[in-house]
Symmetry: C2
Subunit: 76 residues, 2 copies
């Protein structure tokens, strides 16, 4: 397979997780702790730096109490 650049979708997910987390009024550290994920890793996801896996998408969505597919929908 060819080596590719980080996708667009990554930044969409980044923006979405941040918005939903803030809507819940939680800090990155508290939220990361709640879903049992490393805070520096989770921060990287919100910055769009991490190529997060489907299992982790699910885990984050669960913590956010939303349906996973909502994290992939771009808002304006």
């Amino acid at each position: 397979m060819k080596r590719t650049h980080p996708g667009l979708l990554r930044s969409i997910v980044a923006t979405n997780v941040r918005r939903y987390r803030q809507a819940r009024g939680l800090s990155q550290q508290d939220f990361a702790n709640e879903i049992d994920m490393d805070r520096t890793y989770y921060g990287g996801v919100e910055r769009g730096e991490r190529n997060v896996s489907i299992d982790n998408i699910e885990r984050i969505a669960k913590g956010l109490e939303i349906s996973p597919h909502q994290l992939l929908i771009a808002r304006e």
Copy 2:
């Protein structure tokens, strides 16, 4: 982070990619080739064996000509 089992979402994605690919009337082989992905790797995704990343979700959705979030929605 705690070690977890493969998530449910993984199998939802698996079923979806398979359905959408078949709807396009393509073999795994041809489709994998079209999106420049190894066919055995792609096959593993359809079988829910691979914890596929967001970048690869995007790449597959592009080949399927659908919006990425559709791959995460469970059908009955």
